[in-house]
């Protein structure tokens, strides 16, 4: 087990290395003068020179890469071109809200989607199945921000149950946190629920056709035990996989949702940085999200053996 985790960890190194090279080249290989792109149209020659200097754009490409990569390994991702603050500090300041919302989203999604998928498969070809499938197709088709605005319109403007926008950290009081985090989490959860419910249903349908399910039912095991203990455990691996690969969707969704609900998390930070062409921050965010994605999928792979003891590493 430990050997397997180590092997998988080592295998993520080339992936992250290529991401780093890619992020590095993204700016440098853009047609035109990178400094001019970053500074915008109204830049003075002095400003351009300052940006070139800051990013080392005057050095040969290889020298630039080695310097940049060396600093990155030391945990130095540079300073923001706009505010001059350290990028690592900027990102870590904004991490809290995003992590809280993301965790809440995952909990909501799994709690909703897995039972939905199980019931849809159990009552295959009935109206429940049809409703679940319709929801999951719909969830893929409506843009995240439209869902956000529909929820705001209903729950914040018409019903006035929760504030329209904003964020409060759990330390400001659990009630304040939940009332502001619930709409963004539900918004984000829609597409995730659609994805997980669909996969759960497909995977359960396959398992429910197996002989051991018929055997379990024949010997009088209660139906909910058959469904959740016998069937779901055996259907778990594809569901876990989709939770892992769907994590990229979640990260993309965070970027949009934080803009809709005015949440000061890393999604907003990224959008602001991209629109202001604050390249050091963009670089850091792409590296961070890619790293998180790779890590989550590693955890998912390792957790297979927990759900399915037949898988041994």
């Amino acid at each position: 087990m430990f050997g397997y985790i180590l092997k998988r960890l080592l295998a993520t190194i080339p992936v992250l290395l290529i991401v780093a090279v890619f992020v590095f080249l993204l700016l440098r290989l853009t047609p035109g003068d990178p400094a001019a792109i970053l500074a915008g149209d109204a830049a003075t020659p002095a400003q351009l020179e300052r940006i070139r200097d800051r990013l080392g754009l005057n050095d040969p490409l290889l020298v630039q890469f080695v310097t940049w990569f060396g600093q990155m390994l030391k945990g130095d991702l540079g300073t923001s071109l706009i505010s001059n603050t350290d990028v690592v500090d900027m990102v870590s300041d904004r991490l809290g809200p995003t992590i809280n919302i993301a965790l809440m989203t995952i909990v909501i999604s799994v709690l909703l989607a897995v039972p939905m998928g199980v019931i849809a498969a159990w009552r295959h070809r009935t109206w429940i199945d049809f409703a679940v499938m319709s929801f999951s197709v719909l969830g893929f088709s409506v843009p995240v921000f439209v869902i956000g605005y529909i929820l705001i319109q209903i729950f914040a403007i018409e019903l006035r149950w929760v504030p329209v926008q904003g964020y409060a950290s759990p330390s400001d009081g659990i009630g304040a946190f939940f009332s502001r985090a619930i709409l963004p989490s539900l918004t984000l959860a829609t597409i995730y629920v659609a994805l997980i419910a669909r996969m759960t249903r497909a995977s359960m349908l396959e398992v429910l056709g197996e002989d051991y399910i018929r055997t379990a039912r024949a010997k009088g095991v209660r139906e909910n035990v058959v469904l959740f203990r016998h069937a779901l455990r055996n259907a778990a691996v594809p569901i876990l996989t989709i939770i892992g690969t769907g994590f990229a969707l979640l990260i993309s969704g965070v970027v949009v949702t934080e803009s809709v609900f005015n949440i000061p998390g890393i999604g907003r930070l990224t959008v602001d940085a991209i629109l202001a062409r604050d390249y050091p921050v963009i670089q850091a965010m792409i590296l961070l999200t890619a790293g998180i994605y790779v890590l989550v999928n590693l955890i998912v792979d390792v957790s297979y053996s927990f759900f399915d003891p037949r898988i041994r590493y």
Binding site: T30, R125, F145, Y149, V256
Partner: protein, 295 residues
């Protein structure tokens, strides 16, 4: 030399084969309705200049934020432009981006995937690069690309395409990997067929069916990503009305004019819903094994 049956078909024969229904199979009501609705939206978008009552770009300070009326079917936006005219015209660019992105990603992914699947030496490197690209969230990559390359139509299509390519490459590669073990491919290699001929004539037809399905999904997701890019301020230039741009302008006026987000959102969602449904139908028709599993 005998004919090699499964590979000696013209592209046309392959295509008609792909779309002919299996004996006794029937299309349900769902896909038929989806196809009709989609055709209606596409037609209405293409013909928009013929019937919309106002110039979608004409601003009029005298008629800002009007409610829906006989004069303005859906009301007017903060610049006094007719929302109905803008929404109907906006579909043209959104659909163009969807179709453009689907064609470009399938074409690029097909070439890279064929090479990766066929040449062992290139496979490892290509797939590592594709894995890395997939680790970067599509939206982040796309907004970064647009921010660096400018808000032109082609740069938005490229920005949407790049994150999609790895998925196409994986698909094509997996099809090629299994097809190249088939006796007719081995026979072609043994007969000394040239490499391009094997790739194009023998391997490529196998990828056609899954690529059509994948292409529909990419088209749907490209329309969605265009809207998100515009919404975040990193889409096509705001002078061009697209569904995304109209919704982006509606952001600050959401509480007084929700229609600016809801109408384009509705049309866009309907469009994506239909494309996804047709994609699912195509997948079920082309891959009966899948259908059985999905029910």
């Amino acid at each position: 030399m005998t004919e090699m049956p499964s590979s000696r078909r013209s592209a046309f024969q392959v295509l008609t084969g792909v779309f002919s229904l299996p004996a006794g199979a029937r299309l349900g009501a769902g896909p038929t309705i989806a196809a009709l609705v989609l055709a209606l939206i596409v037609l209405a978008s293409i013909c928009a200049p013929l019937y919309v009552p106002y110039d979608p770009l004409a601003m009029d300070a005298m008629s800002r934020l009007r409610p829906p009326s006989d004069e303005f079917l859906l009301g007017t936006d903060p610049y006094g432009r007719d929302i109905f005219s803008r929404v109907m015209t906006g579909g043209r660019v959104s659909l163009l981006i969807g179709i453009g992105a689907a064609i470009v990603s399938v074409a690029v992914g097909l070439v890279i995937g064929l090479l990766a699947g066929f040449f062992r030496a290139a496979d490892g490197i290509i797939m590592r690069i594709m894995d890395s690209l997939m680790a970067i969230p599509a939206i982040l990559l796309a907004i970064a690309l647009v921010a660096l390359n400018g808000p032109s139509l082609s740069s938005v299509i490229i920005a949407i395409t790049i994150p999609e390519v790895p998925r196409v490459v994986r698909l094509v590669r997996s099809v090629v990997l299994s097809a190249r073990e088939e006796p007719y491919v081995e026979a072609a290699i043994a007969l000394g067929s040239s490499m391009p001929k094997i790739l194009i004539q023998h391997l490529m037809p196998n990828t056609l069916a899954p690529l059509i399905v994948q292409g529909t999904y990419i088209c749907a997701s490209a329309i969605l990503i265009e809207a998100i890019l515009s919404f975040l301020g990193a889409g096509v230039s705001t002078e061009i009305p697209t569904w995304g741009n109209i919704m982006a302008e509606g952001r600050s006026y959401f509480q007084i004019k929700p229609g600016l987000i809801f109408w384009p959102g509705l049309l866009l969602s309907l469009c994506i819903l239909c494309i996804n449904l047709l994609g699912d139908t195509a997948r079920d028709l082309l891959d009966p094994r899948m259908k059985k599993r999905e029910g």
